[in-house]
C-alpha cells in the first residue's frame, strides 16, 4: 500500500472519528446540547485529532527512516566485493538500484546483480509499507477508541482542541525560523568544508576563477582556481548597469505618479508598471539573449565597437527594466506619505511644483527612497535567470560593459546543474558563493530597514 493511499485512509478514519465523537457526545446527554461542557463538534474534533495525529507522526518518522534502512538492508545483501567498495561508488550503485525500482532506466541491459538487488529493494519496500499501514491504521483506531472512551458530558473537549490548535499554530509560525536556520546551516556547513580545501582568503581575494580545472589532478593548477573577485566585480557591474536604468526611470515615474498624475491615470499606470515585476525572469532572460543582446551587438558594430554577443550591458539593461517597479512603487508610496502641509508651505513661499518636489518632498522622502533603492540592489544581485541566459560564463575581471562577465548566481547555477559528486570543491564552491550571496543580500536588507527606520521623518 503506497503512502498516499494510507494518507487517504487515515483522513477517512479521522472523518469517521469526527462523526463518532460527535454522536457519542450527543448520546451521552440524550441530545440536550446545553448539558454538554463543549459544543458537540468539539468532541468530534477531539476524536479526529486523536485518530490522526499519532498515526501521522509515526508515518512521518517511519518514512524518513525507511530510506536509510532500505539502503543498508540492500547493501548487506550485495556480494562481499561490492560491499567493500568506497562509499561514493556504493552510493552510485544504490542510485542505480533505485532507478531500476522506479522504472527510470532506458537501457535494455541491466546488470543482473542490480536487477536482483532492485527486486529485493522493492520487496522490502512493499513489506515496510504494509507493516507501516497496519501500524498506522491500528494507531488511528486505537486513538478513536481511546477518545470515545473518554468522552462524557463533563469532558472538557473544547479546551483540549483549542490547546492542540494553538500548539499547531505555534509550530507553523516557527517554520520561518527553521527556514532561516536551514538556509544558514546548509550553506554554512558546505562552505566550511569548502574553506578547508581552499583558504577563505584565496576565495575572497583571488583574481582567477576557473573551477572546471578542478576535475583533473594531473594538470597545472590542478586544484582549480577559486578566486571570487571576477564574479563579484561581474555582479557589481551588471547590478550597476541595472541600477543606472532602474533608478532614474523608476524615480521619475514615481515622482510623476505621486505628484503630477491625476488619480485616474495613477490608478491605471501603477498596476501596469508593476506588471514588469510580475513577468517571470526567464522571460526577460530569453528577451535579453535573443533580442537585446544581438541588437546591442549590431549597434555596437555599426559604431565600430566590438561587443561580445553575451555582454554585461544587455543583461544589465533588461535587469534594470525588471526592477523599475521595485524602485517606483516603494518611492511612490513614500512620497505619497509626505504630508500635504509641507507642499502647501513651499507653494506659499512661491516655489513651483518642480521646485517643491526637488527641495521639499524629495528630501523628506529620501530615507524611504534610499531604502527602496537598496532593496532593488539586493534584488539585482540575487537575480539569476537573466544573467544566466544573457551574461555568459567567462569570468572576466573587467569593468567594460561591452564584454561578457559572469556573476555569482550564474556560477552557482553552472556548478550545480547536472550530476556531480557532492564532495568536489567545485560543488562546494557553489555553496560558498551562496553564502556570499545570502550574507550580501541580508546586509543590504538590514541596511535598508535601518535607513528607513532611523532617518524617517515623523510627521503628526
Amino acid at each position: 500500500m503506497s503512502p498516499s493511499i494510507l494518507l487517504i485512509i487515515l483522513l477517512g478514519l479521522s472523518y469517521l472519528g469526527f462523526r463518532l465523537g460527535k454522536n457519542r457526545a450527543l448520546a451521552s446527554v440524550g441530545g440536550k446540547i446545553k448539558d454538554l461542557h463543549s459544543l458537540p463538534s468539539f468532541y468530534g474534533f477531539y476524536t479526529s485529532l486523536w485518530s490522526i495525529i499519532p498515526a501521522l507522526l509515526v508515518t512521518m518518522i517511519w518514512l524518513s527512516l525507511e530510506t536509510s534502512w532500505l539502503a543498508n538492508a540492500v547493501i548487506a545483501g550485495l556480494p562481499e566485493a561490492m560491499q567493500s567498495l568506497p562509499e561514493s561508488r556504493l552510493y552510485l550503485i544504490l542510485n542505480d538500484i533505485r532507478n531500476v525500482v522506479n522504472g527510470m532506466t532506458y537501457s535494455d541491459r541491466i546488470d543482473p546483480l542490480i536487477a536482483d538487488a532492485a527486486k529485493r529493494y522493492s520487496q522490502l519496500q512493499s513489506l515496510s509499507h504494509i507493516v507501516l499501514s497496519l501500524v498506522a491504521i491500528g494507531l488511528s483506531i486505537a486513538g478513536i477508541s481511546f477518545s470515545l472512551f473518554r468522552i462524557n458530558k463533563s469532558h472538557r473537549a473544547r479546551n483540549t482542541v483549542e490547546t492542540a490548535v494553538t500548539v499547531m499554530m505555534v509550530i507553523c509560525s516557527t517554520l520561518a525560523i527553521f527556514t532561516t536556520l536551514g538556509i544558514v546551516f546548509s550553506v554554512l556547513f558546505e562552505s566550511v568544508r569548502f574553506f578547508k580545501v581552499i583558504p577563505i582568503t584565496e576565495f575572497l581575494f583571488g583574481l582567477e576563477w576557473s573551477p572546471q580545472t578542478a576535475m583533473r589532478s594531473d594538470q597545472v593548477g590542478s586544484s582549480g582556481a577559486f578566486g571570487a573577485v571576477p564574479l563579484l566585480t561581474g555582479t557589481l557591474l551588471v547590478s550597476l548597469i541595472a541600477m543606472m536604468v532602474a533608478v532614474p526611470v523608476g524615480l521619475m515615474s514615481a515622482i510623476y505618479l505621486s505628484e503630477f498624475a491625476s488619480p485616474r491615470f495613477r490608478a491605471m499606470a501603477k498596476p501596469t508598471l508593476e506588471i514588469l515585476a510580475g513577468i517571470p525572469t526567464v522571460v526577460y532572460g530569453f528577451f535579453a539573449a535573443l533580442t537585446v543582446a544581438p541588437f546591442i551587438r549590431d549597434t555596437g558594430a555599426s559604431l565600430g565597437l566590438t561587443v561580445s554577443s553575451e555582454s554585461a550591458l544587455a543583461a544589465g539593461l533588461v535587469m534594470g527594466v525588471m526592477i523599475i517597479p521595485f524602485v517606483s512603487s516603494l518611492s511612490d508610496d513614500v512620497m505619497n506619505a509626505v504630508p500635504q502641509a509641507l507642499r502647501d508651505g513651499a507653494y506659499a513661499l512661491g516655489a513651483t511644483q518642480a521646485e517643491t518636489i526637488r527641495q521639499v518632498v524629495f528630501p523628506a522622502a529620501l530615507p524611504g527612497i534610499v531604502g527602496s533603492i537598496l532593496l532593488a540592489v539586493s534584488r539585482a544581485i540575487g537575480e539569476t535567470m537573466i544573467v544566466v541566459m544573457a551574461a555568459g560564463l567567462a569570468a572576466n575581471l573587467t569593468f567594460n560593459p561591452l564584454e561578457a562577465v559572469t556573476t555569482v548566481t550564474v556560477q552557482i547555477v553552472t556548478l550545480l546543474v547536472g550530476d556531480q559528486e557532492f564532495d568536489s570543491p567545485k560543488t562546494l564552491a557553489a555553496f560558498a558563493l551562496g553564502l556570499v550571496l545570502f550574507v550580501a543580500t541580508l546586509l543590504l536588507n538590514v541596511l535598508a530597514l535601518h535607513v528607513v527606520r532611523k532617518y524617517r521623518e515623523q510627521y503628526e
Binding site: 550553506v187 532614474p248 510623476y256 526567464v282 530569453f286 535573443l290 518642480a354 518636489i357 550571496l437 545570502f438
Partner: protein, 438 residues
Amino acid sequence: MNNTPLKHTNEPGKPSTFDVVQKSLAKRRAAEHRFRFYGIAGIVLALAFLLVLFVNIFGKGYTAFVQTQIRLDIYFERAVLDPDGTDTEDALSKADYTLLIKKSLSGLFPEVNSRRDKRNLYALISSGASYKLRALVLNDAGLVGKTSSVWLPVNDDIDILFKGHIDREAKQSDRRVNDRQLDFIDRLVAENRLEKQFSSTFFTDGDSREPELAGIRGALTGSLLTLLGTFLLSFPIGVATAVYLEEFAPVNKWTDFIEINVNNLAAVPSIVFGLLGLAMFINFFGLPRSTPIVGCLVLTLMTLPTIIIAGRASLKSVPPSIREAALGIGASKLQTIFDHVLPLAIPGMLTGAIIGMARALGETAPLLMIGMVAFIVDIPGGFSDPSTVLPVQIYLWADSPERAFVEKTSAAIMVLLVFLIAMNGLAVYLRKLYERRW
C-alpha cells in the same frame, strides 16, 4: 493694493528682488516643464519596454501553433508491417513504418536515385512521422493492406522555411535547407501536398529533441502538480502563522524574532532557496531529485513569507468590534478567530496566496538547483515522478540551438503569461468582490 512693483532703491546698482524673480521666471517655467516631461518620459519608457517585450514574444511565438504538414499517400503494405503474417499487435508495433514513408516519397519522386538525393528527400519528413503512422495502424488494424492519404509533420527545418524564417536567396552553405530540397519542396507545394495546419502537438506532447515533436504538456503537468502541492502546503501553514502572529502571539522577543525572520526571508534571493532544497531535502532527507515533491517543498518555503505578510494585512483590516462582539457573547478566543474574524479575512488571504502562487509559477532558479532541469519526455503522473516545469522548459528550449525552438520558446512563454495574467486577474477580481469598507 496697487500693482506697482516694489522697488528697493536703497542699493543702487544692484537689481531689485522683484527683477531677479521676474527675470528667472521663464527659466523656472522651463525647468518645471522639463521636470514634468522627465516624469512622463520615465513612465512612457517603462511602458514602451513592456509593449516591445509583449509584441516581440507574440510576434515570434504565434507561428508555433501551426505546423507544416505533408500529405502522403501511404500504402500500408502487409509485407512491411507484418512480414511473418502473425497479425498480432506486437508485430504491428515493432514494424518499420519509416520504410512506408520512404516508399511513398519515392513514388512521388521516381527520378530520385542517388544516395545523396534520397537522403535529402527523406530528410524532409519528421522523424516522428513513423510514430504517427504506427498510432494510426494500432488504432485501426483494418488499414493494413490499404492505401490511405495521411498528413504527416515535416522536419523542423522545412517547417521554418515554410514559415519564412529561412532566406531562400542565401548561399546554400548558409542555410539548413539545400537547393535540391528546395526543388522537392516547390514540387510538393505545386501538388498541394504541403500545408500549414493547426497542430495540437504543442499542447498534447511532452518534450522532444525534435522541435516539430516537442510540446509543453509534460512541463505544464509538472507545473500544475508543483503548484498544487505548493498551495496545499503553504496556504494552511501561512494562514496559521498569520493568525498566530496577528491574534495570539504575545509581544516579546520571540515574536519579534519570528517577524524579522519572515520579513528577511521575503527578500532572500530565490536561488538560495534552491541551495537549501538541494542540501536539505535532497542530500540530507534523501528525497528524489527532479520531482515535484521537492519542488513544492522549496517553493512553499519561498512563498510562505508572501502569504504570511498578506494574511496579516488582511487580518489587520478586520475591525476590532467584530472580535469584541464575539467575545462579548461568550465565544472563546479561538471561536472568535475561526468563526468570525477568519471568514472575513480569508478572501484577502486568498488574494495574497494567489499572487504568491503566480510568483512560484514563474520561478526558475531554485528549481534548476533541485534538478528539475532534466530532459524528460514522459508526462509526469504523480508527485514523485521526475518532471520539469514550464519556466524551466522555456529555459531549456531557449538554450537549444535549433531555430525552430525559438518559436516554441516564445509560444511556451505566451502560455506561461496567459496563466500568470489569469491568476493575477483572479486575485484582482477576488479583491474587488470581497472588498469591504468598515
